[in-house]
Structures are given as structure tokens and as C-alpha cells.
Symmetry: C2
Subunit: 355 residues, 2 copies
């Protein structure tokens, strides 16, 4: 098949100039027509669109970005080691949700994995200077997060993923960790447990802090005895913390993520204790992991994919001029499985168990 000149080779190089030539109008008119803006008649618009479709025209992102000062790209920085990202299935699901909304708008995602918060800040500065992204999604919100003032100063549109208490008035999307924590503790309390251990994530993380507060409040309200151990979310520290927590002879342990819960389960079973007969376990971040262990784990499920999608939608709202708002996405749902049970009587009396 012989190709006409201008339709050359492997990759199409159709520009609006060519469309203008073929449809007999100016380049500007073509732009108006293609962008669905007033200024052209319905007939002309239809003709231009037909020609564009025939030529299989695709807008050149760079050109559009250069003139319109929009990049049609959102940014997401993950300040974690690649190893953590592997261990935490959370992120990939979140990214998947983000993508699903972005693709509806033909937007792209710029994903950057960096080592720490400083590099994350540097990335925002760079992106802002380069006009690389139209906005950013900020995850792993901290207490007194240094990213908030930087983003404000840069004027970079952003949606924070985390509690309004941490967002300092910026737009945010969050799940109700407090309600979820209450549900978890009411669950174990209703089973009759009185001594509870909590294996938490790093205290610098805002969400962990929120849960710390909620845990403390619920413990007081329900009249429980409790202890909290902070970790780096890893399986290793989860196992170690479980070991230590057992000293206080808890009959229920609440974990901040699934990985630590599974690690804790292994530790407890290795000590010859039985679940749920001796200890009840509850995990945050439900995942397939919680369903494949034996026994299966009671967990707080929340839809991470939907969470990412929701945050992305809100970022589009922000770009459209929406006022900063806090959006409650959902409350993690307690899914009760085999790791939940009633404490035995000798436990409630505080007897020494084998270990």
C-alpha cells in the first residue's frame, strides 16, 4: 500500500495544521472545534472532527502543555524504600484506583519513589518549577506535616490522603479511623476481653497518631487495660513487638496492618498458644493475607482502590476551583473471622498461662 505524503511511516505525525488544510479552515478554528469550545458553527465542527478522526489525530501532549500550561498529569510521591512498597500491598491498590479515574480524563500519573520526606519536598519543588504536574496526591500524612506549608507556598494543587485533623485546612480525603478503632475495641470488649495490646505503626505517621488517640479514648471509655507498641510496620518488628506485648498477658491484640498481624500470629503459635482460644487477633488493612492464614484473621477492611479513586476525583474538583473540603470516604468495616473468640475463664482471672 502506497502512502500519501504527510502520512509517513510507522508513527502518525498528524497535526492540527494538516487537519486545517484538509477541512479548509484555519488552525485556530480547528483548535476551537476539537476542544468543543464556542467560536465555530456546528457544521464546521462536525467536519473538522470527521477529518481528525479520519487522520487518526492525537493531540501532542507537549505542545498542549506548553501553550495551555496544563500538563494533564497528576503526581504521586511515595517516600518509602522499594522494600516497604513490596511489603505493603496498600500502595499498589491505591495507585490502581488513582489510575482508573485518571484514565477516564486522559490524565497521566507521574509516580516517583523517593527515600525520605526531604527528597519528596524536592520533588514537589521540581515539579512545580517544571510545570510537570497539575496537582499532587499526598499520602502518609504526618503530624505537623512539613509538606503542607511547602505545597501551599508552591501553589501546587493537592489533595491530602489523611484525617482533617492533620490537613490544616487543605482539601483531604480520609477514612474514619476513630470509628473503626471503636468498632474493633467494642468487638473485643463485647467478647469479654479486658487486657488489650496494640501493635502500631510509626508514631510519626498521622494515621497512627489518630489511631493512638482513638485507642486511648476507647480503652478509657470501655474500662480496659491496654498497652501500645510502635513499630516500623515491618513483619520483623511486628513479630518482636508481639513477643514483648505478651509479657502483659493480653487476651486480645490489635495490629495496625495485616503483615504484622500475620507475623504476630506465627509468633504466638510458635509459643504454643492457640488462637482464638488463648488470644484474639484483629488486623487493620484487610487483605488476602488475612484470609489465607489458619485461623483466618478478623480484620478492618477498607477499599483501598476506591480510596485512591476518590482522592483523585477530589483533586479534579480542586482543579475545577472547588473550595478546600474534607471528604469522608468510608469507615473501615470490621470483618469477623476465626481469630476472634471469648477469653477463657482462667485468663479473665489473670492466671499464668503456659508460654
Amino acid at each position: 500500500m502506497v502512502r500519501a505524503p504527510g502520512e509517513e511511516g510507522v508513527v502518525s505525525r498528524v497535526t492540527i495544521k494538516e487537519i486545517a488544510r484538509r477541512s479548509g479552515v484555519s488552525q485556530g478554528a480547528v483548535s476551537y472545534a476539537l476542544n468543543n469550545r464556542p467560536g465555530v458553527s456546528a457544521a464546521t465542527r462536525a467536519r473538522v472532527l470527521r477529518v481528525a478522526a479520519e487522520l487518526e489525530w492525537v493531540p501532542n501532549r507537549a505542545a498542549r502543555q506548553l501553550s495551555a500550561a496544563r500538563s494533564e498529569t497528576f503526581g504521586l510521591v511515595l517516600a518509602r524504600t522499594p522494600q516497604t512498597l513490596i511489603e505493603e500491598p496498600y500502595f499498589m491498590g491505591f495507585v490502581g484506583g488513582v489510575e482508573s479515574v485518571l484514565s477516564e480524563h486522559s490524565y497521566a500519573l507521574a509516580l516517583q519513589v523517593v527515600a525520605d520526606l526531604d527528597e519528596e519536598l524536592a520533588t514537589y519543588r521540581k515539579w512545580a518549577a517544571e510545570r510537570r504536574v497539575d496537582g499532587v496526591l499526598v499520602v502518609d500524612l504526618r503530624v505537623g506535616d512539613p509538606r503542607i506549608p511547602v505545597l501551599r507556598k508552591l501553589g501546587l494543587p493537592a489533595v491530602l490522603v489523611g484525617d482533617p485533623a492533620l490537613a490544616e485546612g487543605m482539601p483531604c480525603v480520609f477514612t474514619d479511623s476513630t470509628a473503626a478503632m471503636n468498632a474493633a475495641l467494642e468487638h473485643v470488649a463485647s467478647l469479654g476481653h479486658r487486657v488489650i495490646a496494640r501493635i502500631a505503626g510509626p508514631p510519626a505517621f498521622g494515621d497512627v497518631w489518630i489511631r493512638d488517640q482513638a485507642f486511648g479514648a476507647a480503652v478509657r471509655r470501655l474500662g480496659l487495660t491496654a498497652s501500645t507498641q510502635h513499630t516500623d510496620y515491618s513483619a520483623a518488628q511486628g513479630a518482636a513487638a508481639t513477643h514483648q506485648a505478651l509479657a502483659a498477658r493480653p487476651t486480645a491484640i490489635v495490629y495496625d496492618n495485616d503483615l504484622m498481624a500475620v507475623a504476630g500470629l506465627a509468633v504466638i503459635q510458635a509459643l504454643g498458644l492457640r488462637i482464638p482460644d488463648d488470644i484474639t487477633l484483629v488486623a487493620w488493612d484487610d487483605s488476602p493475607l488475612c484470609r489465607i492464614t489458619h485461623p483466618t484473621l478478623t480484620a478492618l477492611s477498607h477499599n483501598v482502590v476506591g480510596y485512591g479513586a476518590e482522592a483523585t476525583r477530589r483533586l479534579f474538583d480542586v482543579l475545577a476551583g472547588a473550595h478546600p473540603q474534607s471528604h469522608l470516604y468510608s469507615t473501615p468495616l470490621l470483618t469477623i473471622r476465626e481469630s476472634s473468640g471469648r477469653p477463657t475463664d482462667h485468663q479473665r482471672a489473670g492466671d499464668v498461662r503456659r508460654g
Copy 2:
């Protein structure tokens, strides 16, 4: 602090025009100086660089891309459901490795999550037409992969992640699955196992196919009795396949990923069988999961992060004009843990076990 005009507001808007003005040369000369190209004297170059540094100039990506026809972006399409991405820690690690190399070159990653291969092909076509990416990394290589002819036709530089046997002459990076499979089977054979089950991934995946071949060859060579069940890599199908596989009374099971191995472990334990006393388990894709179960799982470890990094480096090579080559990245290493054991005598005699 009062700002000079031209240094306005929150975001810097320094262009090479401004640099040209301040350093007293033309715009073109500035471009040559900043890009380290001949055409300017050392003195001028130094002056320009100094001014650029003072003004904190950052190149505008869109402008550069528009004129230089480079996007300084690599593309990665994942044709998986968000849910799978959550369950498979593999990808996030791979992406992390890719990122680490990209950032050294100030390149960006365009990540797209799509539902199926057709959408993936559409994405490549779109990217090629838009000049959105300079090259792509292709994962989840299939047998007779339809993406290969499309990428060839589009002239889109690519590095395939998968075996040369599947790459049809395109540049690729791979791990030696055959050697790894041999290592796994020699391990179980040397322990005395004679009846082996393999719980594999989807047969359409090239890597699964390669492993199928290697498994079959090794089984014949070692004189073993074996069966293979194909799954979709999910925990649910891994559990179901394990259940079925037990009918053939294997004394060792080799899984294609960690998630299914953990799921299988739970199934086996729920049936009252003991590991490794009754059955030896080996998992592919070592991960923290394999270390937190009880017992811990023997697994084939490979460095997914490094794998992503290596593939990315090779893509830079391709852009630099390197000829298509196959690069062996590494051979997965067998890490022996508690799930490996010798079969008991009554098993080797083929006796009926409890179940």
C-alpha cells in the same frame, strides 16, 4: 523581601530568555551552554551556568519535549486488575527499581494500569502517536506475545522482561527460570521426594510456560512422578489447586508464587497434615510472607527491585543505539527454610495417610 520584576510569586518562571538577557548572550548560545554542547567558549559557558544556577532555572519539560522530540519519560503498562496488583507484591518492587534508575537520569515514569492486553496495545499506540514516552518496559510476557509486533510496527523502543525464547529477537532482560526450577527439583529430589505437585500460574504467561518446560524436563531427568495445576495466581485458586493436587498424594509441592504457597500451607494444615513432616513446600517469589508463616517456607528468592532497575538500564542502552540483546539478570536463589524435610518411610512406600 521585595522581589525584582520577573521573579514573581510562588512559582519560579525563569526561562532561558531571561538567562540570555542577564548573561549578555543570545538565547541560542544559552541553550548550547546549558546542554554542554560545542558552540560556546568555556568562559561564556561558565557565566551562563552561573547565572542559571543563581536564578534557579529548571528546564521546562514540555518545551524541551516539543522541540527536541524527547519526552524524558519511560512507560510501563500493567494489564492487571487493581486487585491483583494488591495481591502481587512483585510489581511495586519492580516499579521501585525502575524509579531508582530513572531518577538518576531525571527521567519520569508513566504508569498505566489497564484491564487487558487490548487496552495495553491501545495505550502503546496512543503513547507512540502522542510522543508521550521515549520507550517502554514490557512485563508479563506471553507465549506468542501480540505486543511484540505492535511495538515493532510503532517503532517504540522497548525492553521486554522475560525469557529470550519469548522475546522474538527484541531486547530483553530475564532470570534463569530453568536453572531455578532445576535447583528446586534437585532440592526436593535430594531429600528423597518422588511424587511432586506443581501449582502454576496461568499457562498464557510466558514465564509460566518456561517453568512448565523446565519442570517437565527436570521431572523426566530425575525420574519423578509429577502433576501440574494451572491457576490465576490468586490465593483462592492456589488453595483449591492444592486441595486437588493432594489426591495424587505428593510429598512435595512447588508453587509459582508466594501467595499461593501460603494459601496452600493453610489448606494442608487445616487437613491435619504437618509440614514438613508430611509434605515439603517450595515457593517461587520469596517475600516476607515466606518468612512469617509457621513453618517458614523454602523459596526461590530473586531481587525484584534490581530486576526493574536492570531492565530500565537496558532501555537506556537501547535508546543510545545498542543492538537488541538478551541480558541474563540473575538466577533465583533457593533459600531453604523450615518447610523442607525428608519424606517419611510410609510415604515413600505409598501408604495411605490420614486426610
